[in-house]
Symmetry: C2
């Protein structure tokens, strides 16, 4: 498999960093090929505007989707976006490694979606959901939380993690055609012992070997 890992954490020594390095090692040891988008290390720009493009279709009024369709026709995406689009086209599986911040992804990862999932290349012309451009590819959210598992159950302090993640699963991943796999959630690693963390990393490595044959996750609709 070709696996794209997208990493969004400001501290490489964090437990998110350990999960990332574990994934790279486990996937490569199993014979898979990995590409990494390390958004903090790349200083990836998350703000979507005219810098997404090498030329302007309409210099007087900025309508992002119109510019994206023009850029799709004229190979007009900025280099940083084109590089990410190539990785998306290349991958069989995409994994996002991130800490859950404010019931969502860190802004740099949201901006990666805002800028890279461009009309004409990631969706559009009827290509959404079941007919999305990324159909046949699999996607998996690997995340950490601050709070313990009990807080993320239905009725818990924060509530059902599947509901919290649904806008990402449904509105970003399924919308563009990805088959969604069950999220891999590590609850409260800051409060775990070294032994617990080692076990968590080992479980993550074990899961990654055979993602091609996992049953899809029931994302649910609204």
């Amino acid at each position: 498999m070709n696996v794209l890992l997208v990493f969004a954490h400001p501290e490489p020594q964090s437990f998110n960093g350990a999960l990332l390095r574990t994934a790279v090692a486990a996937l490569e040891a199993a014979g898979h090929t990995v590409q990494l988008s390390d958004l903090y290390a790349q200083s990836f720009e998350p703000v979507s505007d005219r810098r997404n493009f090498t030329a302007a279709h309409d210099a007087a009024y900025f309508k992002q989707q119109a510019e994206e369709l023009y850029a799709t026709k004229h190979q007009g995406f900025a280099g940083d976006i084109e590089a990410e689009l190539q990785k998306l086209a290349w991958c069989d599986v995409m994994i996002w490694q991130f800490p859950l911040w404010w019931f969502s992804v860190p802004a740099v990862l949201k901006g990666w979606v805002d800028r890279v999932f461009a009309m004409g290349r990631a969706y559009g012309s009827g290509h959404i959901y079941e007919t999305g451009f990324f159909r046949g590819k699999r996607a998996l959210l690997s995340l950490t939380t601050g709070g313990p598992a009990g807080a993320y159950q239905p009725g818990g302090l924060q509530g059902d993690v599947a509901g919290i993640l649904r806008p990402i699963h449904r509105g970003m991943l399924q919308f563009t055609g990805f088959t969604v796999l069950a999220p891999h959630v590590v609850y409260g690693p800051a409060r775990q012992s070294d032994e617990e963390r080692e076990a968590v990393l080992a479980a993550w490595a074990a899961r990654l070997i055979d993602l091609a044959h996992e049953a899809p996750f029931e994302v649910g609709t609204y």
Copy 2:
């Protein structure tokens, strides 16, 4: 009332821009005081990292919450964050004006939350949800969608807009203590006639006069 308007759209001439200008004019005409955070115009930085702070509590390992607690004690927030925190402390009502991108806010607005809603100033030490630091303040999402209203009903193509917005309502606004008002959603303004848009702007202006007495919105839990 003191009203903080947070605006996140790359094109000032957009319908989001028209909604913003309508809000400023209507609120000021009704005698309210407005402060604006125009995130694109301010070139607001959305990536959360050491630039959030004027000093480092731990220069060897970046843990954002620990740095935030240290900055809370030592007045150590970067100027752009401190300015937004002052506006938050000042306001009675906060309104976010944005286009719904990928079932969420644009990255620049997500990053405003990631950086400004700091532990020690926006939450923490038991101050979450009903005991949040921003209790007594009201918050309202004003947004536009690409698709028509029917797509955002339960069972529609995109699904119930209340579910799509719940992570924002619950995880960002209620979490920090805000009382949430009903979202103001304009569906598919790109497909509306000039007359329809004028009516939409008039309705928005009319709603803004008396936000202090609106009943809270039923956000729901997970």
